[in-house]
Every structure is written in C-alpha cells, then in structure tokens.
Symmetry: C2
Subunit: 205 residues, 2 copies
C-alpha cells in the first residue's frame, strides 16, 4: 500500500518534546493509530502511576531500585530526574523496534532530547501550548497538579519553551488540534523523504 | 485563519524539479489552488507557446532578442539552455513576491536549482515518475514529443533523475497523485515549521 508516511526497512527515530499539558500524548496516539508501523517508545519511570495510566503503555513503571539497577547495567540511552522522579529511555527497546522497521516517537524531556540527537541524529520536534494561560488551564483540568506543584510545572514549562525555541529542529503551536496534527504528521512525512532514506529504499517504491 | 501551511510576513522559496511528464505542473497547480498565498513563479522562455498554454501563466514567452536583452541587464537569477531554447528566472519577480509574503515554488531545471540553493538557500525538491516506462507513456500522451525529440527527452530525464538522487534535499515518486500531493505539501509544511521561520513569526501565532 502506498502511503505518504512510508514503512522503511529500517525505522526512523523522532523526538517530541514540549511542556506537560501541551498535547504531546494526543498527537502521538493519533499518529500511531493512523499508521500501525509508527510506535511511541515507552519510557521507564519511577514516578507513581496516575489514574487512567496503563503499565507498559504509558510508561514502564518501576521501583527506584530496579531503575538504578538498569542504570548500572548501562541499559539507558538517556535518563533525567524531574520533580524527584527518574525517567529513562531503554537502548535495547529502541534499537529492536527500529530494526524491525518501526518508526519510533520518543516523547522525552528537552535534556534527554539533546543526547538522543547527539547519539542517533534524530530530528527534534517541539510542541508548545498557545500560551502559558492555556497551559495552566490544561494542567488544572488534569486535577493532579495543584499549588506548589503547579508553580514548579509552570516554571519548568518556561524553561522548556526557551530550550525548544533555541535548540529544536521543528517547532509548532498546538492551538487547534487538527492543524497541530497535520503539522506533526507533515514533519515526519518530510523527514522520511529526505535524500538518504529515499535512496536506501528506492528499490521497493 | 489557522493553517498547517502558514502565511508568513516574508515568503519562503522552494525549488521543484523533475523530468518533464513527472507531474510537476499538476502538483503545483493543486497547491496554489488550496493555498492562495502560495504561487508558482512564472519563468521566461524563448520556446514557442504550446496549444493550451497561456502567456504569463505557464511562462512569459519572449523572443530571443528580448531574452538576451534581459540577460544583459542582469535580470535573471539563473538561466538554462535546453533543447535549443532559453529559460530564465527573473530576480525582481521573485523578490517582489517574497516581500509581499507569498511562498514561491520555482519549477526549474536541475542546473538552475543548484544556483538558487547557493544564492538563496531554498530547499530542493525532486519528483520522479515511477519508472522511465511511465514517463515515456506520459510524454507520448502529450503528443508534442516524438521520434528524436522523445529520445532526447528520455536521455535528459535519466540525467535529471541522477542529479535528483544525488543532490536534492527531498525526493519522492509520483505514482499515485493523492500520495504524491500529500508528500509535496508535507515538505512545505515541515520546512515552514523549522526553527528560524517560526521564531520570526512567533508574535502573530
């Protein structure tokens, strides 16, 4: 089947970052539903599972001991400590999926993103909320962030948006979901038609 | 109005190349119809007008004398001689449209394309027919290319495809028009969300 988002013999890696509440999960869920050969990479974290989250789908929720054991074994491509919890991207999981031909979206923090670009050359995509006010509203809606935690998250959002604006390859605003989704998908489609990947796979087109 | 293909204060330039009969005109016509602030740049040429072509729309058809006068005045960004006819891209026309905020597609030959990237940093997009056989069929359908001229055009197509595969930024195959159009549009959408243009225009988002 012909598709503007081609399945290639070796998958490609994309990094998506942006403040919590900016719509990353919605965008990625929609993309993976539309294209079965695009997957969201599932990170490891020591933070407690939230209502509605699913073990092994949203994250691999592990204890701090297990996480530190993995760090010792050099299992992680990148790790980050955020609001007292650890997050990490498993090397083996990523390489396994790419070799099977799946394109992978890594939804990770701005700090981990730089490391992934450095090591694996993945393009960095940043999605912003239309304004900090909107972000505040979206975070309140979740019900899990209040008082001091909310302030911390807003501060973090400002830092992340500065990083995005200065260091990411692509940036867009999630104001209307339809538009944001089309931009997000377009970035992947365009990246998969850059010269090198096309030549690799020219034979099956 | 929000759009995945944003109008920016200063337009952006894109180069589209590919063998004659590969579908360039169809793709660009559709894009300019969907987005009124995207225009096809109209080149100058000394080749005779074909049935169905419109003066000032398909090309500015001019005499060899007028063309050479323009060359003398340094009016052209690039010129190329092809099958005995001259083709040229007017500097003034391009800069005028970009300053008005129109995004411009330059449908030009592979040789002119390199010059435009060098001078103005425009991304180079290459569209191929699915095979030389298909190209042959499409060219025959036009009725204007026969015998020796057809051989020349096929030879030229092979040269152009080699150039595209080795030097262009983006490549895609026009097999199914719907898919090809989505890829073409995606490349523009993605390019307009690269870091620099986004920051320039962040204030009106």
């Amino acid at each position: 089947m012909l598709s503007s988002l081609p399945k290639l013999p070796m998958g490609h890696l994309f990094v998506l970052s942006g403040p919590a509440g900016g719509g990353k999960t919605t965008l990625v869920d929609r993309l993976t539903k539309e294209f079965p050969y695009v997957k969201k990479n599932v990170s490891y974290t020591t933070r407690p599972i939230r209502p509605g989250e699913v073990q092994g789908v949203d994250y691999h929720f592990v204890s701090k001991d297990v996480f530190l054991e993995m760090v010792k074994r050099d299992d992680f491509l990148e790790t980050v400590s955020l609001f007292g919890h650890l997050y990490g991207t498993s090397k083996k999981a990523i390489l396994g999926e790419l070799e099977k031909g799946f394109h992978l979206i890594l939804v990770i923090d701005v700090e981990g993103a730089h490391k992934v670009r450095e090591l694996l050359g993945a393009p960095l995509i940043f999605v912003s909320p239309p304004s900090l006010e909107t972000l505040k509203k979206r975070l309140s809606g979740r019900g899990s962030e209040k008082g001091k935690s909310m302030d911390q998250r807003l501060q973090r959002a400002v830092f992340e948006m500065e990083q995005g604006e200065n260091h990411y390859d692509y940036l867009f605003v999630n104001d209307e979901l339809e538009v944001a989704y089309e931009i997000f998908k377009s970035i992947l489609v365009a990246e998969l038609h850059k010269r090198t990947p096309w030549i690799e796979t020219n034979t099956d087109l």
